[in-house]
Structures are given as C-alpha cells and as structure tokens.
C-alpha cells in the first residue's frame, strides 16, 4: 500500500493526481472498516464462560429436530435436549424418562404410560399427555417429512397416516387418556418398543413453538426443551453450546453446567485439538487417524469398543453369475476376513461369519462358513467354472474412502489367487454410489449397516423381499415368513429361534451377502478427567452423566457451583 502512495506521489503533483491518491486511500480505509465491521460477528471478540466439557462430535448436525434427524452426531446432541417416554441409561438400556411407569397388556399390543406429574418445559409450561400425542403424530405427518417416520410404524394406523392414506391423526394408535396418561396401540407385539420410546423420532417436542415458527422452530430463543440441557446457541460448523436445564425433572443429577459440542470430521484435526487440550472428549468413531491406530490404541485414554454395525459385501443376485448360490458361497469361502481386519482395519474389528453383530441383546447368531479356499474352488467348479475358467469379468463397486479402497484391492487379490477370477474395481462418489446401489446397478458392492436399536431385527429385517435396504435383489418367501413370525412372537426364546433360522438361510445357504467384519469404534478421553461415559453397543452417550473431575481452572468450578451442579454419581 505504501508503494502505491509513493508511486502516485512521485508523479507530477497535479491536483488530479492528488485527488486520485485521496480516492485510493479512501477506498483502502473503507475496505478496512468493512472488515473491522465484520470482526464482532466472526467471533473475534467472544466473552463467554468456558465450557465444563468440550466434546468433538463428528459431522456438523444437519438438524436437531428429533423427528427429522437421522445421523448419530445429531442424535448425540438431541439426547441432551429432548426426552421420550423412556431414556437410555449410560449403558444404553431403556429406563423411565418422561414416563414414570408403564404397563403392557398381556397380549403385548397395548402400552399405557404414566407421565411424571412434575414435568415442565425449560420455559416453564407444563408437559402433558397431549404433548406426547402431538409429538408422535407430528413425526408421522407427511408435512413434517421425517426420514425415520418408520420408527413409529409399529403403532396402529401409523404407516397409513404417514403415507397419506388416512388423514385423521386421531386414528393413529396413540391417545391421551387424561392429563398424565398415554395409551399406545401397536400392530403386533414389539419386543423392543421400550427401546424405541427412547429413540429420537419419538421424543416429545414443544407444540406451541413448532406451530408458531414452523420449520424455523429450532431458532426460537429461548427454545423450550424437556431434556437435561438447553440450547444456548448453534453456530454452523463452529459449535453447539448446551447449558444445564434447571427445570428438567431430574436436574439434580445433571453433572455438568456447560457442554460445548464441536463438529469436526478430519481425524488429524480432532487428534490435534485433543492433544493440545482444546477438547476433552472425541467420540465419533471415524476420528482416529488410521495411520496412527496401532500406536494410539496402546494409550490408556484411547478406548476401543464394539458396536452394532456390520461391514459386508452384497451380490446382485439378479445378474449372472451371481444368481447361482454356489458362486456366492465360493466367493464367501475364498474371503480371508481375518487378514482384512489384521492388515487393513486394525482397530480390533472382529471378522464376521454372520450378519448380526456379537453382543446384540437376546440373540446369538448361527455361525456361517469360515475361510476355506479348497471348498471354494470345488463349489466354483461345480457351478461350471473350474479354476475360474469362463467366469465373466465383473465389477466391485465401492465409495471413495481409503479404507473401502484398500478392502476392494485386497478382495480383488484374494479372489484372483483363490479362485482365478478377475474383478474390476469401480470407485464412485457417494451419491452416485447410493444411486447405483438402490437401482441394483452393480455386480458386487460393499455395504455396511449400523443398528438402529439393540435387536436382531434391525439387521435381519432389511433382507426381507420388500425392504428398501435389501440391496441384493434377493427374495425368499420362507425368510420373509420367519422374520414376520419372529416379530409377532412375544416369547423371547422362540423369537430368537426364528431369527436364527432366518439368519442361517441368509449367511449359510442363500448367501446374498458376505459378512466381512463387525465394526469396532474408538473414542478417546482421559478417564482421570472425564467420567460418565460408558462404552455401549449403540455408541450412545447420554450427556447428563458426563462430567469433568480433578483439577481444572477454579473459574470453571465456581461457574458450575453457581449453577447448582451437584457432583453426585449417576
């Protein structure tokens, strides 16, 4: 800038020149002022108390509306803001939430929930049974356009209402009997219904605010909430700040005053912030740099855990040669899953011979076949391709993440070595991949599934003939019947038998899929500083139990003391 001035001043000092110089300087000053004006907005100057706990949470939340959200980063925040009839304990089992107690009818078709009588929104208005009915019918209303409305399809008439076939919400199986009693009618006995009641789609949300602000209701301040935390602010891609809700029915047990939730998706950034003490907890499973997995997992503050998720390979059974179950079995037998988890994933994943992960409630899977290249070759020969001769070239489709790419290359090698068949790799951008997947436009593809609730049905149900997530084109009437029967069964042992029979078809006989491994997650926090986070198969962590202990800035402690935080254990 100085050079400009000198250059200009160096020219003949005519009036014109001077005027131009002044204009130029005015421009510069104007620009500076403009940027200075932007400073306060961009957060250059922030006067706010430090958070008690800062958590790195993965992707930026798409929404925090319980009826609309679908992803885990969103769920982990919403769990602090809102609550359902039940809630999850730190080990992700359902315990009484807004409902104090409930009864199930002997046939398992009707639940009667008794709400607590002392419930109020964070803004002071009482919460009643009508709010529950409103929230559930709202989630089902076509106008809400909820992705996960299916979580309520277990209710009578819920699906027809959501699909617009019936218009009257009063026909849906949820009714307020009086101010504090809610009656729920189900289509058939649903063993995991109380788990569902703790699921975000079924949370109770503030009717007045939603009706007043429509789609923008989350921007209302103060935002009425019924969970342990209030929303202080939500800055896009920056931070969500939560503050203890003193009107929550169990506020006495809320452990921390202020929780900051930071969206970060790059593992190296998350690790850096954690190591520099700018974050206390990192808990999205993708947030550990894969190159450092081996080293970091040895540290005491890095915690490995199993959760309900499977990685598997799908065959398009509508295409040759994968319409032949022997071919599918051959490829499965020629897959060395042990090698994949040891060499590529490396975070302690378990190789899988079946679809439903180990540790699923009330269920043990039947074992599928292991690694047996000799039998694989025999089966392939039986199917008409001895030594892989005459086997058509086919494509393996996957999306662009380094891990999926490594696995694809490994499978390509394995199948060439063990079976003598040639596979081309086709890497696709995510949306293109999804498009091809849902239109069965592939030969073989990689897939994964994370359980929605702790039950075998969330995995086995997706391979029924009509399910939108059956990405194989495989249809089996017997399988469908078994799943249907299992879901109507009240007796847990009988139910397990039926599921086992179904899964045997899936992973031993028909094999439209090859289960590869069960995911393992890694989260990291120092247990000497942070308490109240427990590893569980759903990788859900209720916020109200989390607290920081030990030394910390005294300002921090007095801030939480002012807010009446008690340091009792959960």
């Amino acid at each position: 800038m100085v050079i400009f001035k000198r250059a200009a001043a160096g020219s003949r000092k005519s009036e014109v020149g001077k005027r131009k110089v002044r204009a130029a300087w005015r421009g510069v000053i104007f620009c500076l002022l403009l940027f200075a004006g932007c400073l306060p907005n961009s957060g250059c100057v922030r006067r706010e108390p430090p958070a008690d706990v800062t958590i790195i949470n993965g992707a930026e939340p798409e929404t925090l509306d319980p009826a609309i959200l679908t992803g885990q980063p969103e769920m982990r925040i919403a769990i602090g803001l809102f609550e359902g009839m039940t809630r999850l304990d730190p080990r992700a089992r359902p315990i009484p939430g807004l409902a104090e107690s409930w009864e199930m009818s002997p046939d398992g078709l009707t639940y009667t929930f008794h709400l607590r009588t002392n419930l109020v929104w964070s803004t002071g208005e009482p919460i009643t049974a009508d709010d529950v009915v409103y929230s559930w019918t709202r989630a089902l209303s076509p106008a809400t356009a909820s992705d996960y409305a299916g979580q309520l399809y277990y209710l009578k008439n819920a699906q027809s209402f959501n699909e617009g076939k019936i218009k009257d919400p009063a026909l849906v199986g949820v009714h307020a009997l009086d101010k504090y009693t809610v009656r729920v009618d189900l289509n058939h006995p649903t063993a995991f219904f109380l788990d569902l009641c703790a699921f975000q789609t079924l949370y109770v949300v503030p009717r007045q605010t939603i009706e007043k602000y429509g789609d923008r209701w989350l921007m209302a301040r103060p935002l009425p909430v019924d969970g342990p935390y209030e929303l202080v602010y939500w800055r896009l891609n920056d931070k969500v700040r939560l503050r203890k809700n003193p009107r929550y029915w169990d506020a006495a047990h809320t452990q921390s005053g202020i929780i900051d939730i930071v969206p970060i998706t790059l593992p190296s950034v998350a690790l850096n912030l954690y190591l520099r003490g700018q974050a206390d907890v990192v808990w999205d499973k993708g947030l550990i740099p894969t190159e450092l997995v081996d080293v970091l997992l040895k540290r005491p503050d890095f915690h490995r855990f199993e959760y309900l998720a499977s990685y598997f390979v799908c065959f398009n059974v509508t295409r040759k040669p994968f319409d032949d179950p022997r071919v599918r079995q051959a490829l499965a037998l020629a897959t060395d899953k042990e090698l994949i988890v040891k060499k590529i994933t490396r975070a302690g994943e378990q190789p899988a011979s079946h679809l439903v992960p180990n540790g699923t409630a009330n269920y043990t899977s039947p074992d599928g076949p292991g690694y047996d290249p000799v039998r694989a070759r025999a089966l392939l020969a039986e199917a008409g391709y001895p030594g892989g001769k005459g086997f058509p070239r086919f494509e393996y489709m996957f999306n662009s993440t380094p891990l999926d790419e490594s696995i694809a290359v490994e499978l390509q090698q394995m199948w060439l070595k063990n079976l003598g068949i040639h596979m081309d790799l086709r890497q696709l951008e995510w949306k293109v991949y999804l498009n091809a997947q849902s239109h069965l436009d592939f030969d073989v593809l990689r897939a994964s599934w994370v359980g929605d609730y702790d039950d075998a049905n969330t995995f086995l149900g997706m391979f029924t003939s009509s399910d939108g997530n059956n990405w194989t084109g495989w249809k089996n009437a017997h399988y469908d019947a078994l799943i249907r029967e299992a879901n109507e069964q009240v007796d847990l042992t009988k139910r397990e038998k039926l599921f086992q029979e179904a899964e045997t078809i899936l992973v031993r006989d028909a094999m439209p899929i090859i289960p590869v491994y069960f995911y393992a997650g890694v989260n990291y926090f120092d247990t000497n500083k942070i308490q109240g986070i427990y590893q569980n198969v759903l990788d859900d962590h209720p916020l109200q139990y989390i607290r920081k202990i030990g030394r910390g800035p005294s300002r921090l402690r007095s801030a939480s003391a002012r807010q009446g935080v008690e340091s009792r254990g959960p």
Binding site: F4, R6, A9, F35, S42, C44, D147, E163, S268, V269
Partner: protein, 304 residues
C-alpha cells in the same frame, strides 16, 4: 457510463450463471435425500421431496427459486434442514471474509516487498533466493503448508492453537497458510512487472535525465509494475473472500468454503446455486473495482 454499462450487463450474466448452476447440480446423479438407508416406506421419500418441491419439473423449481431470490430468500438448505442458505451465508461469509482479508493482507505484505527486492537486486544471489522462495510458495499446496505450520507452531512449540476460530491467536496461522501461495504469485508478478518497466522507454528517458536508481525504482517503475498485481488481485480477492475448503477444513474454521464444496457432494441444490451466485457477484464486483483502480493508477487507461 462505462461502469454503469458493466453493472447492467452483470444482471443477465448472473441469470445465465444461475441457470447453469441450477441445471448442473440437478443433472448430477443422486439427490439430496438419497441416503445409505432407505426409509421404511417409499412414501416417506415422496413426502420429503414434496416438501421441497423436488417432485416438480426442474424449470418450475428454477422459477420458484428465482422468485425466492427476488425476495432475498436463497431457500432452505436441503442437507442442513434446520438452516436456510441465508443462515449459512450470514454465519459463514463474515468468517471467510475476515480470513480472506487477513490472507490478502499477508500476501500483499510479503509478496510486494519480495517482488520489489528481487527486481532491485536482479541477477544477484538475493534475487535468486527470493525468486526461489516465491516459486516454492506457489508450488507447495495449502494442504501441505497448513499441517507443517500446525506441526511447527502448534504441536512442537505450542505457541498457537491448532485450530478453531475464536481469539486473534487463532487467526495467525490460517491466513498465512492461505496467503502464502498468493504471496508467491504476487512476488513473481511484481518482479516481472518491475523488470518490464525498467526496460521501457520512459524509464530510459528518466535515467537519461539523471534520475537516481532508487527514485527510478520507487517513483516510476513501481507505478506501472503494480498494474499486473492489481489485475490479479481482483479474482484473487474473490477467491480468498469466499473461503477455502482446504484451509477451513484443516483449521476447523466455520467459514463458507466448506459449504460450497460439501454442498455439491451432498447435492444440496440450494446451497450450491446460492453460493455460486454469491461467488459470481463478488467476482464481478471485484473485477469492476480493479478496472476502476486502473483509471486511478495508470494515466494511459481510459474507459469509454
């Protein structure tokens, strides 16, 4: 008159850009609501698409969008359903603009002196060293520079934060990482400009009149040599002010660059079109400003 015409001409240009952006994002396979898990009923997806009018013909959606624009409404984000594109711009743009302005300041503050210095010492070791550094700055991409800066200043020496955007301390490394490339470019452009200017006739005439080398460089050559830098700084500023995907990602800065890139990956139609238009407006405005600056700096330039 000339500038008025240019401004008027920008309107149809923006319309063309909006049509192209709108068409391109819609042509890309997959839609904003394609997810890994299919909803429990196909009707659910239809409900969502009806809500955002995605079931209408594309031309109708376009005019609906234009109508919104006319009212200053960029529409709702399809990925971040709780926010509108206006929210995204209002929250992200000031951050990106601050980052960009700091980077611009850094690029100018480093690039111009280096360019001047290397030109003044042409052919000597200082010239070679400076030019080498400038080329190096141009060649090393931001995703290498940024982690190196973090590694040195934040991890090793623990002087500066590794990321986030809160205090002035957070605002030191990102502008450097972002501005280094431009600093190199400016240094090269300015050196080049100086060399050319030094060979031109009016400099020879000035030299013949007995002007000293110092005042030749500072008073005569500079003024002409800075012109290529000025014309370069228009698009450069537009680039800087609309944010950088890589730098914002690496330093976890809540700017707008991340949204532009992720928007297209997510098929977030409204975000992509809205931010493209914003970028276009900035680019047009800054180019106009550059042309205006020319009239101030170069007496030979006149627009009719």
């Amino acid at each position: 008159m000339y500038f008025l015409r240019r401004i008027l001409f920008a309107v149809p240009l923006l319309l063309v850009i909006s049509v192209l952006a709108f068409a391109l994002v819609h042509i890309a396979p997959g839609g904003p609501f394609d997810r890994e898990r299919a909803p429990a009923s196909p009707e659910i997806k239809r409900n969502i698409e009806a809500k955002y009018h995605l079931n209408e013909p594309v031309w109708k959606q376009y005019f609906r969008y234009l109508d919104g624009l006319a009212h200053g409404d960029f529409g709702p984000s399809l990925k971040y359903r709780a926010h509108t594109v206006n929210d995204i711009i209002a929250q992200g743009l000031p951050v990106s603009m601050l980052l960009g302005a700091l980077a611009f300041g850094f690029a100018m503050g480093v690039g111009l002196p280096v360019g001047f210095f290397t030109a003044a010492r042409r052919g000597r070791w200082a010239d070679y060293a400076g030019s080498f550094l400038a080329v190096l700055a141009v060649c090393i991409p931001g995703f290498v520079i940024a982690p190196l800066l973090i590694l040195t200043f934040s991890i090793k020496w623990r002087l500066l934060p590794v990321g986030l955007w809160e205090t002035p301390w957070h605002m030191i490394l990102p502008p450097i990482a972002l501005g280094l490339y431009f600093a190199g470019q400016i240094a090269r452009l300015f050196r080049e400009g100086m060399m050319n200017a030094m060979q031109s006739e009016f400099v020879a005439a000035a030299r013949a009149k007995g002007l000293g080398e110092k005042s030749l460089l500072l008073k005569h050559a500079c003024r002409i040599a800075v012109l290529p830098v000025v014309s370069y700084s228009g698009p450069m500023l537009a680039d800087l002010l609309t944010g950088s995907f890589i730098i914002e990602n690496i330093f976890q800065i809540p700017g707008i660059g991340v949204f532009l890139v992720n928007g297209s990956l997510n098929r977030d139609y409204t975000v992509v079109v809205g931010l493209s238009l914003l970028y276009a407006v900035l680019l047009i405005a800054l180019n106009l400003m550059v042309d205006f600056a020319y009239t101030l700096l170069d007496p030979r330039v006149k627009y009719e």
